[in-house]
Symmetry: C2
Subunit: 208 residues, 2 copies
């Protein structure tokens, strides 16, 4: 019950600003975060990723390089690597992808990988079997501490966000707030969630 009361409080504080708080959406297509070691196995020794496009979150970029995901029931080619390399491998797919691959990926926050299933990655040089790291990303809103303070939120708060599509109007509940000085205000959904709500990247959603 304490959790529910908290949620009400943060919503009321946000509403007190008087005008709707619009949050731009980013629809995350399936992608992988890889360690330098795995990138070297898949591509070549000392391989460095090339930037295809910078993402809104500062320092993050879609790489030119792609891999193929291989699961027990199917494979998905042309899956983008998101750079820079990380300390831990993480594969983010939709539930639709999970069914195609035959991998029962749980809904998790980024980095919360204990007990998650593994997968095989194929690159131009070779393959790597990851023992874990496959998730469906938990829907979340990025913001910097100044935005969080303005809206009355703190890291890990749960909020509600409305998508106002004419024919697929949807209220996303239990959305995690993630606060860091490196973040810019943006809601992250996967392709299933974006499609279900009739959203495209860059569309605004409304804080409730």
């Amino acid at each position: 019950m304490a959790e529910r009361a908290d949620r009400k409080t943060v919503s009321l504080r946000a509403a007190a600003a008087g005008v709707p708080v619009l949050i731009p959406v980013a629809i995350s297509a399936r992608h992988v975060h890889l360690t330098e070691s795995v990138i070297e196995t898949l591509f070549s020794d000392k391989y460095r990723l090339h930037t295809h496009a910078d993402l809104v979150q500062p320092g993050q970029y879609a790489a030119e390089e792609c891999v193929t995901l291989v699961g027990p029931h199917g494979r998905i080619p042309h899956v983008r690597i998101v750079g820079p390399p990380r300390a831990v491998n993480q594969v983010e797919i939709s539930r639709t992808d999970a069914l195609t691959l035959g991998i029962n990926a749980p809904v998790r926050e980024s980095g919360d990988l204990a007990g998650t299933p593994g997968i095989v990655l194929q690159g131009p040089r070779g393959s790597v079997t990851l023992e874990s790291g496959v998730i469906c990303a938990l829907r979340h809103v990025h913001m910097c501490p100044e935005e969080a303070a303005r809206l009355g939120f703190k890291d890990q708060d749960r909020i509600q966000v409305a998508a106002q599509s004419a024919d697929r109007q949807t209220l996303f509940q239990n959305v995690v707030v993630r606060v860091s000085p490196t973040y810019r205000l943006e809601m992250h959904l996967d392709t299933d969630e974006g499609n279900a709500a009739g959203l495209r990247s860059g569309d605004p959603v409304v804080l409730q």
Copy 2:
């Protein structure tokens, strides 16, 4: 504003029953409804579909027969025909499928096919080019007139339905009510919507 007032009224009437109204969900995977003529072209003269599984809606069945959907960007094999044959061809896909195929299917009610895009269907005997009929189905709840009367709804009312998944809690808004003596109480979502809300066929959702 009249529409909003109506919506409130129907919700209040439903709530007056005192207990939550649970509606079983059916997640509709991509499927096609075909005319006898198209079935004959794809399979053989005088061809009759075989029942793979009866659906909850009386008289409807998933056929054993499947077709391949072919769009300008991709193809999707093993797409089930739903019988019995109909007077008009209709192809129901998710937005994820629409992107795979490269066909910009609009969100529409079943049967509302004016101005919708076409597609190529392949069967074991031959191919058929449909000039229109490809849609993403508008989310809806089927019910019979007795259930509608009990809940205070009429055909084409718009309602809200809550999916209470722990990590993908979602309120579907602007959901169409469809009333017919041949219907049984059931909410129909496509795979994107089901995945986005962490639902599987048979799960209950709650009328708000």
